[in-house]
Symmetry: C2
Subunit: 498 residues, 2 copies
């Protein structure tokens, strides 16, 4: 069901340690459920906190009329922000569900069931309760200073999802095989099994739904070597980075289709959730309908400069990230090829000389030979360390940069959306043909878009300063470990020298 | 004057802490001076120790007649083993002294004088006394087991010679310039000034004189960049390696021309010593005349196999040393070019990203930017470390290997000399035309050559097991220092991370 706004008429003090929530007269709530029963509604307060409150204490706020160029709000039966378990029951008709045919290899089918959970009705229902408070919320933007314009309300209960080393599964009596990854969200601790094509479907939905939020990229499709162990493990690591970004994002981490993707273990409900997601009408520009942004009007002059500054900044970040990605990829290859080759060559030259040292006039055991051969072995070993090292530092760095490159190449589109909305607003103001109430609505819509874009920019900056920076630090730590290892190897060889 | 052998007739106990030496009846001494006066002679005992003893206690051993194919021994007025100061005085006639015209650039002249010593007659005489006991000896081979056949008697007073950072000197009113290196032998502590062309002249003399001893190579002549600081400093280091090998060699370190080269500070005596060296007739095969080898006859069957084994071994060493030299040269170049470029590229990619981090919505100082730029600076700095590093490890290794490559490419010729002498002996035995005494002499000559060759092979093995091995160890130590430095740089950067 869709949500709506309600103004609090009277203060209400919720009972502590229950599902009840305290509300204050004048607050604007987002009502998420009206079918709780016994006169209770469920909703979110402006801080994004979720809870129950008496229906009688609030007054539904009528939606203002829409500007002409915005589609109407989704009908109540359409999915918007909510839960798979809350969707209307499956109305039969499995014929339109081509899920199993949507495949990156166009032939294999996949089990949308949990790996180790019994297939049982009601699983999703049960999970719904467990996720409550995490997922059940609308995107909310707050403003803590004029300078930053807006920030996404962060998750009160952040969660993580682990993607496990995948198993190669087979179906149709072993004739067809596919890679199934196991995802375990921390809020449910229930494993779900997903294939790359499911991620791909999810990604399409996210891109369709959010044009004001930069969606992290999926790893590239790859045809050859798809079943090779190294490729599969690397794809797992890449998907983990995608998942991590999703989990950290206040809006993406709580949206329906994502929660459905993370939690559904029942085939029938899976199909229903899938159909709902594909029919979602709160997509694109309509997404703004469900964003709770500050009421304060935005000064357009302030914003325009900032948007242009950010466009330049995001472009520069994009270039620098691409450049470092290229460097990381380059260095990773050089670890395997060039550096390994150089150290092996050096090692072999020493080792050969050590072998020549074996000859001894007295036919005696030559310690010198052992020492010199040890130098050789050490450098050959360092070569092998280089070969392994790329997987420890450059490749993980590349994978993290890959996510951010996806974001930075997406953000300019997001910024352009704001510019377009602003232009539309100016046109309406110039034309002066709209009634005042409709013009107010257009202005509000433009402000919500601006708030959303800045919330997204602030989120990116936070990602940059926290997670991208940590990725760089992790890289440096791995490099330190590597060179310490090299030092140890050389030191050991020196200590063995007589 | 030339030296001769004397057999000890009676035991004599030398006074401790004087120039006197104890001798034992039956010992074979090498008499080096008979003009000490008061009935004393100076000489070397079989251990190579030098000292005075009573003339009356010894009996001169008559030299055996020479085989037909060996030139007669040098006349008493010719230099053989002894001292520049002991040479006959200059007989005038400076006209034949083309020393100053022998030049690696064919035009410049050089001062064969000490840099900071007054040009004074008698300098060489004074030095003679100081070097006494080190240089004043004949090559002596002892045999401590049947297996090794012979070893050079080691120096009782080993010495070193330091070659200092050269100065660019000028002559002819500054029109002509040349590089003069300053050599300071530890036994005299008197500086002498030598140019590359003097080394070159010395090297020609050594090669002429010794065909049974592998002469260490001089650094290659180089036409371009001769006056560039880096080239000059590197040539100094290379000459130091040449000098070090000379000083370590029991025969080379004590031969006339070398001592003359190391000590002469007087122009007149320099020319005389030079002329004497050029007139030396104890060269090539005649060198054996002054080698004291064990009297014991050698079983030819035992030697042949050993010589062939050693030929193979020396060839293998030669290949391996050349290969490691190539590797060292390669790596040294790669330090300056490839490794520096790679680390600089990595550093620049991080630094650029760090610069992009500078943008901040709040216009605030971004610590993240500083951290990421620090990574960049660190890698750029490591690139610079690489650039400098080649001079610390690969280049010194190359220079040491260069000396040994010279030895290993020379040793096969030395081994061939033994084979030729052995063949000559066999011919004489087959022809059966020589009188018995002459045949004995031919056999003895062949044995002395064999003893000399094995003394040289043993010296090389000792060089390999001690000095070459130490060079490799020094290299490894420098590599350790380098990687420790890299670890420290990365560690510091990590510690600055927030």
């Amino acid at each position: 069901m869709s949500t709506f706004k309600a103004r609090v008429l009277y203060d209400f003090q919720g009972e502590p340690n229950t599902a009840e929530m305290s509300i204050t007269a004048g607050e604007l709530l987002t009502v998420t459920r009206t079918d709780v029963g016994d006169g209770w509604w469920e909703g979110l307060n402006p801080k994004g906190e979720s809870g129950l409150f008496p229906e009688a204490y609030v007054e539904k706020v009528e939606t203002s009329s829409k500007p002409p160029n915005i589609p109407p709000p989704a009908p109540p039966s359409q999915p918007g922000w909510g839960f798979p378990g809350q969707q209307e029951p499956d109305q039969g008709g499995h014929d339109d569900d081509d899920w199993d045919e949507w495949d990156d290899d166009n032939t294999y089918e996949s089990p949308p069931y949990s790996n180790n959970m019994p297939k049982a009705e009601g699983n999703t229902q049960r999970l719904t309760k467990e996720v409550s408070g995490t997922a059940l919320r609308k995107p909310h933007i707050y403003r803590d200073s004029d300078d930053q314009l807006g920030r996404w309300e962060v998750l009160s209960n952040p969660y993580t999802v682990q993607i496990a080393s995948p198993k190669k599964a087979t179906k149709m009596g072993g004739l067809k095989s596919f890679i199934a990854y196991t995802l375990t969200p921390s809020f449910s601790n229930v494993e779900v099994s997903r294939r790359y094509k499911h991620f791909d479907w999810l990604h399409d939905r996210l891109n369709e739904k959010f044009n004001l939020i930069a969606i992290p990229p999926l790893p590239d499709k790859q045809v050859s070597g798809r079943y090779e162990e190294m490729f599969i493990e690397h794809r797992r690591a890449q998907l983990q980075e995608f998942i991590n970004y999703m989990c950290r994002h206040p809006v993406l981490s709580t949206c329906d289709v994502w929660i459905h993707f993370l939690t559904c273990t029942d085939a029938k409900q899976w199909k229903q959730g899938k159909r709902n997601a594909e029919r979602d009408q709160l997509i694109g520009a309509s997404f703004c309908l469900c964003v709770e942004a500050p009421e304060k009007e935005i000064m357009p002059s302030l914003v325009e400069v900032k948007i242009d500054e950010n466009l330049k900044y995001v472009e520069k970040m994009d270039q620098c990230i691409k450049n470092l990605m290229q460097t990381a990829q380059d260095q990773q290859k050089k670890c395997i090829n060039m550096y390994k080759r150089e150290f092996t060559r050096v090692g072999e030259a020493f080792f050969a000389l050590g072998s020549a040292f074996e000859y001894n006039q007295q036919g005696m055991y030559s310690k010198a030979s052992v020492d010199v051969k040890n130098i050789g072995s050490t450098y050959i070993m360092i070569g092998k360390l280089y070969e392994e090292q790329g997987k420890m530092d450059w490749l993980p760095l590349f994978d993290q940069l890959y996510i951010y490159k996806g974001i930075t190449s997406n953000l300019p589109n997001v910024l352009q959306m704001q510019k377009m909305a602003e232009q539309k607003k100016k046109e309406c103001e110039r034309n002066n043909q709209l009634p005042q109430v409709a013009l107010t609505d257009v202005r509000r819509r433009s402000d919500v878009i601006t708030y959303t874009v800045f919330a997204e920019l602030n989120h990116f900056q936070q990602e940059r300063d926290q997670n991208l920076k940590r990725a760089l630090k992790d890289f440096l730590q791995e490099q330190l470990n590597f060179y310490k290892n090299v030092v140890t190897k050389i030191e050991e060889t020196l200590n063995q020298f007589e």
